[in-house]
Symmetry: C2
Subunit: 502 residues, 2 copies
């Protein structure tokens, strides 16, 4: 009956296993690989990437796909079969545009640049990284030309991470975010001293932090029989299949929040991957549908849940148990206020919910200029510092606290950064919708219980994997298109309360 | 000039990268993978193994190989080129015998059996493992038939691990080992109480053991910028390329020797892989030439070095620093005697140098019987216990301390066990030769310094990788064929001294 489809599936399974193996090679590179292993590892990743490309873009794959399409013309739009064929068709047509040589070059460039970046950041040495970054910009530009675009070159790159979203739409939404939050940040500045977060900066035992990280991940439903927590410099999560979805965290012995919120963030990503429908396993649909939707899940658990009063009403006693000396005499309200202190700072991943988006807008604007050739790599550090001053009123003391802080550009991942703020906006929209759909969710959240919320997310988002693009998924889950409004309502309500500005 | 050879090399690099990626997948399975990840991991390993087989046994590979052979008919026998062509020809002809379906089945069977074994061992439940073991025996038998053999079916399996060695030769050498060491074990039994090792069995802090393991690895030349030490139940080493060769250890909080000697053992393996000539990198020659030669390097560093008086004269103060409470009042001679106590015991990996080979001979005899169909899987536990009684005079209290203790059979690795004792014999021969070649080596070893020894091993063994089969390598390095004699001389001298029987 579906013999052609079954043949296609078998080939997709091979491709999936290759791609998951590449993910393991990447994960190991970040967590365990000794420094001298990098060149061999880049060769391994490059070879597997090239093999995956050769299979994914092969004539054979084209024939299998066409045969399955002919067999299943009447399949229901929402079925796994029809969804998979839609996805694979688009992927295949795109993959065909890239030569095997291009794929190899890109992997070699990003493999070397990633390594150079981590050295450069550690040594605060932008100059040593500059040629690698130049190569990464060039390969991204080449990629955009190969993919093609109508309006802006950047559209082609953005589309790789946020299918169906145009640069001009993002720009418009971000302008609204800027317009609404910059005055709020200024108003808060005047009240800054009403929040004391000094007790967050003390010595916190590393082993106790690791235990707390496991506790935090489990508190929102992350299951360690299907997971693993690793320690890295730059936290990330990754999936090798729905039963092996890993998270990592970064431990700062002088500031427990680093690890705590990184863990909640990565566990949020992981819950998405773990929640993909079993029927999609080993197909390209078995993953989050876009970077923005993915980020909505991590930011939702990191912020909307993890920085809420309800969560800490339930879990602060546990935190006190882990750190009796540091936290024994702090009360829940003071802790809640401290972890929500709004204050311009240099490092994106440690920014508060309001200033965070300014870090993203900065990167979004700079990377468009890089891709369009309006900004050279040599001028980038100065441009970065200037924009930090404009947006947040501060200037980084050095490049390690500025342009060198993020891995993304070394990976030629231009177009990725805006999805972080899109994630924040989606998170606010999803949370607002979930609360209004089911009164139980709000009642449970007030007690730090995320069970009904997770059930709503699984049902409306997770289980679909990549069956629907972000805009379509959003419409189905919320009945709306994405705007900045729910986020603006959320931050006004929350920070208005904390800073008594309502 | 060598265009065809270069084309072949490129294809071998692809194959190498695939095989190293499989090694990473295995390593991660043992060190980090969550329990529910196993079925996905088995699929990934199976897919990559099948891809590697498809490339390795392809017509294209055959054509590349034939063209390179025609191009290089005059290459010097010892050159990398000629050695590589010899190796790849044999490998290719063998690989062609296996169907892709067979390769997939074998990977699926061993993937599931490995997991079942670790569960069964933890629960001391042979019954749950039996059907998996049956499948592993059957696939090994099938493999032997596919490979073909002249005298004994077991020859075909042994040849996979110890190229060029026949079962009857091993049997003959092992009979000599039995003949010479059993009386020695008996003689020692009468003197057993002259060695006290009770102080080895105390509480040893896990973190301090980890630090000591790193110290021990470095003490024999293992370099962590090209390595990594992981913690597992069943220690192993693995190589992802000469600049990323990893070791693992097992930590027993009540017995520091477990981790200490496992680390020296695995670091010995790793030194071999790290020492392979750079010119062989990314080719199939960039690995140890046989399991027996590999084991000679691990056993040499674990025992001939790591259980020598000279090594501890130099390093015992460090051990005392790590464990002042447990070891502060022990003297070097008492420690040296304790770690060399001869005593029949149940677990192979913790056996002393004399009884160890009895564990191997037991497995060697049982697995021949399994492969020949003379012994059924159901009768195996009883046969195991009976042979333990005959060889060592003790009977395991349960299967976890008997037939379930080793991973090998779950991996269908029949033919591997004898290489452990071959390794012991090679180690003794190499050590005897090295000492006689260079007086500096013996002088340094007496002070716990292995630098000249390592240089000799690198020059005579490591750098050649798989250019020569074990018997040829042995002849080149020592001018002799392998016999049990150097080992017998070594143990007589050493244990004669410890038990005052000279």
């Amino acid at each position: 009956m579906t013999e052609k489809y079954t043949n296609l599936l078998a080939r997709l399974h091979t491709l999936n296993d290759l791609q998951k193996s590449i993910a393991v090679l990447h994960w190991d590179r970040e967590t365990n690989m000794p420094p001298q292993g990098n060149s061999g590892r880049t060769q391994q990743i490059t070879t597997l990437t090239q093999l995956a490309h050769e299979i994914g873009a092969s004539n054979e794959m084209g024939e299998l796909l066409a045969a399955a399409e002919a067999e299943l013309t009447n399949a229901d739009y929402d079925s796994t079969e029809a969804s998979l064929l839609r996805y694979v068709r688009r992927q295949y047509d795109e993959e065909r545009k890239f030569s095997s040589d291009f794929v190899r070059r890109r992997s070699e460039i990003t493999g070397a640049a990633g390594f150079a970046w981590s050295q450069a950041r550690a040594q605060n040495d932008f100059t040593s990284f500059a040629p690698h970054l130049q190569a990464a910009v060039a390969i991204a530009q080449e990629s955009a030309e190969i993919l093609g675009y109508e309006d802006e070159k950047y559209d082609a790159l953005l589309d790789q991470y946020e299918r169906g979203m145009k640069t001009k739409d993002v720009r418009e939404i971000f302008e609204k975010v800027k317009r609404e939050t910059v005055p709020l940040i200024h108003a808060i500045s005047a009240q800054r001293d009403t929040v004391d977060d000094s007790f967050l900066f003390q010595s916190f035992d590393v082993d106790a932090q690791k235990k707390l990280a496991r506790y935090a991940a489990e508190s929102i439903g992350y299951d360690f029989t299907r997971g693993h927590l690793g320690q890295v410099e730059h936290p990330f999560s990754t999936s090798f299949g729905r039963n092996d979805v890993r998270i990592t965290t970064r431990i700062n012995p002088e500031f427990a929040n680093s690890s705590l919120f990184a863990t909640l963030h990565e566990a949020g990503h992981a819950l998405y991957e773990k929640g993909v429908g079993e029927e999609l396993e080993r197909t390209p649909l078995a993953q989050g549908t876009s970077s923005g939707i993915h980020e909505s899940q991590s930011r939702l658990f990191e912020n909307q849940v993890g920085r809420s009063r309800g969560y800490w009403d339930a879990h602060f006693p546990q935190l006190q148990t882990h750190f009796p000396q540091q936290m024994g005499r702090v009360d829940t309200e003071s802790f809640y206020r401290a972890i929500n202190k709004v204050q311009p700072s240099f490092i994106r991943v440690e920014a508060d919910e309001l200033t965070y988006n300014m870090h993203i807008i900065l990167r979004f604007e700079l990377e468009q200029a890089l891709i369009n050739g309006e900004l050279s790599v040599d001028d980038l550090p100065a441009a970065w510092n200037e924009k930090m001053e404009t947006l947040l009123g501060i200037t980084p003391p050095d490049d390690a606290h500025g342009v060198l802080q993020d891995v993304h550009w070394s990976q030629a991942a231009f177009g990725y950064f805006p999805t972080y703020t899109l994630g924040n906006l989606y998170a606010a929209l999803f949370m607002e919708t979930a609360r209004s759909h089911d009164a139980q969710i709000a009642a449970e959240l007030a007690q730090g219980n995320t069970a009904s919320l997770l059930a709503w997310l699984r049902n409306n988002i997770h289980r679909h994997g990549s069956k629907y693009d972000a805009p379509e998924l959003c419409q189905r889950a919320t009945g709306q298109v994405l705007t900045a409004d729910p986020f603006v309502r959320y931050v006004r309500e929350k920070f208005g309360g904390i800073y008594q500005m309502r």
